[in-house]
Symmetry: C2
Subunit: 159 residues, 2 copies
DNA sequence: ATTTACTCTATCAACTAGATAGGTTAAATA
DNA sequence: TATTTAACCTATCTAGTTGATAGAGTAAAT
């Protein structure tokens, strides 16, 4: 399960990526816009800042900005930061490998084999998706959705 | 994260799949062989039985058996049974969809889009891997491992 | 000096995971 | 029939985590 922290982080970062690159975004505004408890979001953004993903400005006119280009911020990094390794089991993790104490021989462990596949597939997606590319996907989906809306639910008009 | 329950379940089921199909396997033996706390395994096997994945026999000569062909038992079912839906977020689940209350339009939500990809990739793997196929993978890995062992670590012999 | 808005630490209730304890029931066998 | 064996079932516990809130501190702008 993705934690709320990671989920909110992605939503907030995506909003920042869509927003004017050098205009600070206030916590309160971000919270309202994305339906996130403000105090909770505060913690999350602070974490992102301390990991060098966000920049901040204090005082009037302050707020948060992306510290890097949206094309260089990957979901994999965000998820790992809040939820730890992507692998379902520590012995299948590439970034935070830990041996199973109960396992005689990992090379021939069924759980290991299957979960390594899952971790590789997940990593391929999340380490391959940047805020920029996700933003493009959202735009694409928006066009499709609004096109569908324009041609409307096909209900005959009664006059 | 895969829970210990799901992990132990897979290990136990795989051991049963490798074992004589109509010879009951006792909890205690299974626990010893797979390094699983016996009382905890008891609970897990009971759950599997109540879901129709295992059969049991009481009393002397009793124990657990697979209720179906190993080729018809998929990891997806096991994992869902103990850990719930495969999707990282409920709105991306196919088998247990729940709408996000905080999300205006799911069709254009970045989190939804990315997590649906992850859930689909995960489901493809876990719903495509049966105990039988996993067993084959383990055998294959065993051959590779023992071959590597046979040709040994390539350390020159000093005489 | 005051306002604004981020910074930081502490705290909390609710929940869950992993595990253990201990009695109950049913099947086999002596 | 009594005994042994081994699954069945319910209760309980502790430790840790998650999602969230409170409130005082600090830096920048006006």
């Amino acid at each position: 399960m993705l934690s709320k922290k990671a989920k909110y982080a992605i939503k907030a970062l995506l909003a920042l990526a869509e927003h004017d690159r050098d205009e600070p975004f206030r916590i309160a505004d971000l919270a309202r816009e994305e339906n996130i408890p403000a105090k909770f979001l505060e913690l999350i953004l602070l974490g992102l800042r301390n990991h060098g993903i966000l920049q901040s400005r204090k005082g009037k006119g302050g707020g948060y900005l992306l510290a890097r280009d949206p094309a260089d911020i990957y979901l994999g990094q965000i998820v790992r930061m809040f939820d730890g390794p992507l692998a379902p089991v520590p012995c299948a993790s590439q970034t935070a490998y830990v041996r199973c104490t109960d396992c005689k021989n990992e090379a021939v462990c069924g759980v290991h084999l299957a979960m390594k596949e899952v971790r590789d597939a997940t990593a391929k997606i999340l380490d391959g998706t940047s805020l920029a590319s996700l933003h493009r996907q959202v735009e694409l989906a928006t066009i499709h959705t609004s096109a569908a809306a324009a041609f409307g639910p096909q209900v005959p008009i009664k006059d």
